[in-house]
């Protein structure tokens, strides 16, 4: 059960109530004392705002996360940031449908308000004062709005629980025959019939999400079986597969490393998707890690060919170093 009083909450977090109350008060009036704003460029002049949490509060957040994970179990409708949930299992759930519809919640963490977190905690049996204190400790205040900060360890858990509480059951009620998969802020609705109008579903879901949560949806896509169905960074038409463009670029890079000038390939890779790599060894190591990830979504022959070529490139790299 969730802590019954604020003092028991402090006790569970191995701290004292005075400190919790102080932090909560300061978070309301001076959030900038605990969060440092970092802007990450997204391209085309846009940027993503994430918050670096001050170490004392970050530790408190990790304790709160442990406590909430134990006390508020998942309903099973969240497929991201949950213990025991694998990407391959989620992909298996989504693959091979006649119609796949995807929507994205706009600024998901920012859209989850402190009030929604409080109500969710109350729904799970927390006393109002305890729910309010937990929500206040986990949220950031900017202007008149208090919301979940992107960058805190507890935000993914709370956003999942709020979505489960407010949205998931409503979606299941509306579309009982559809396979609904919510991967953090990405919502995938899959139908096994082609008699459903994708556009109508998008309009209805957008309205439902707005009514139930106040969140907005964007990047809506209707993907019938005769077109490429993409989700979770994979192609999901018949079975989950590595996208062809990604496969070809990875194959080309590995081939060039095995047969052409290594330093030249490093420069090319740095100009592309591997900007943070400094040496050929680092690049080869990173490619090894990527291959391990993609193994689950590649045919065995394709994987073994790539691995063989990459091993050849690695051998070449070692030989060149010895020379």
């Amino acid at each position: 059960m969730l802590p019954l009083t604020r003092r028991l909450l402090a006790n569970n977090l191995r701290t004292n109530l005075k400190r919790l109350t102080y932090i909560a008060t300061e978070l309301k009036d001076n959030s900038e004392l605990f969060y440092k704003e970092i802007k990450i460029p997204k391209g085309r002049g846009r940027y993503r705002i994430v918050y670096k949490v001050e170490p004392g509060l970050a530790y408190l957040h990790s304790l709160l996360k442990t406590l909430l994970e134990k006390q508020i179990p998942a309903t099973g409708t969240s497929y991201a940031y949950e213990a025991g949930v694998k990407l391959s299992d989620t992909a298996t759930r989504m693959q091979g449908h006649k119609l796949l519809i995807s929507l994205d919640f706009k600024n998901h963490f920012t859209a989850v308000t402190m009030w929604q977190v409080t109500e969710m905690l109350k729904h799970h049996g927390a006393a109002p004062d305890v729910a309010f204190l937990i929500a206040r400790l986990c949220c950031i205040t900017r202007g008149k709005r208090s919301f979940l900060p992107q960058g805190s360890v507890v935000s993914p858990l709370l956003s999942n629980r709020v979505s489960e509480h407010l949205l998931d059951h409503k979606l299941s009620e509306r579309y009982p025959k559809a396979t609904i998969t919510r991967y953090s802020d990405n919502l995938y609705i899959a139908f096994d019939t082609d008699k459903v109008s994708g556009t109508a579903v998008i309009v209805a879901v957008k309205k439902l999400v707005r009514e139930e949560t106040g969140w907005r949806c964007h990047k809506c896509r209707v993907m019938p079986y005769y077109r490429q169905q993409r989700g979770l960074g994979l192609v999901l038409n018949e079975k989950a597969n590595m996208p062809r463009d990604k496969y070809l670029s990875l194959k080309a890079l590995i081939h060039n490393l095995a047969h052409k000038d290594l330093e030249e390939q490093l420069v090319t890779a740095k100009a592309g998707a591997y900007g943070d790599i400094d040496t050929v060894q680092e690049l080869i190591s990173k490619l090894h890690h990527q291959l391990i990830y993609w193994k689950q979504f590649l045919a065995a022959t394709k994987y073994s060919k790539l691995l063989k070529t990459l091993n050849k490139a690695e051998k070449r790299c070692i030989e060149q170093q010895l020379d």
């Binding site: 028991l8 191995r14 004292n16 109530l17």
Partner: protein
Amino acid sequence: MTCSIKKLPDDLGVIIITLPKSSRGITAVPGIGWAADIEVLVFRDEFSLATNLSKLGACFAVDSLSSLGDSSLSTTITNAVRSNTEWVIDRCYLASPLEIMRNKYKMMSYHVGVGNCLFKCSSTAIYDSEVGTFNSLEACVYQIDHLMGQCNLGMPKCAEGLAEYVTANKEITS
């Protein structure tokens, strides 16, 4: 004296008693600051204590309700249990949540006369999820001071006295 009682869901044999700070008089209460309201948990019997204590928090001072120190506060708590439940007082247990301040238990009963205590140091057990359960007197560095009648459980000295045992045993368990 006014006190509020909160029963746990499903009546698991636990109640939370909250008393205003004015009710403590000069009684030392472990884990609760001098200016704070008193909040203690009463368990129906040994079984409910063993089953529910670890679910409710991380560290507590625990003793049988019948072996509490002789103070008006203990009488108030006993009366509150009597009037609100049908539990047998001799079987009940009292637990006081211990907060932590700078890695030590918060023992903040300042300006308290020796002899005025809610918990008797000799019979009180301390439950800590990271250390285990131990007797407060046996673990304390200042046990001779207590035996000579110079301190009681809840006074600032206890935080220092128990810190060494807690740190040493936390390292062992971790």
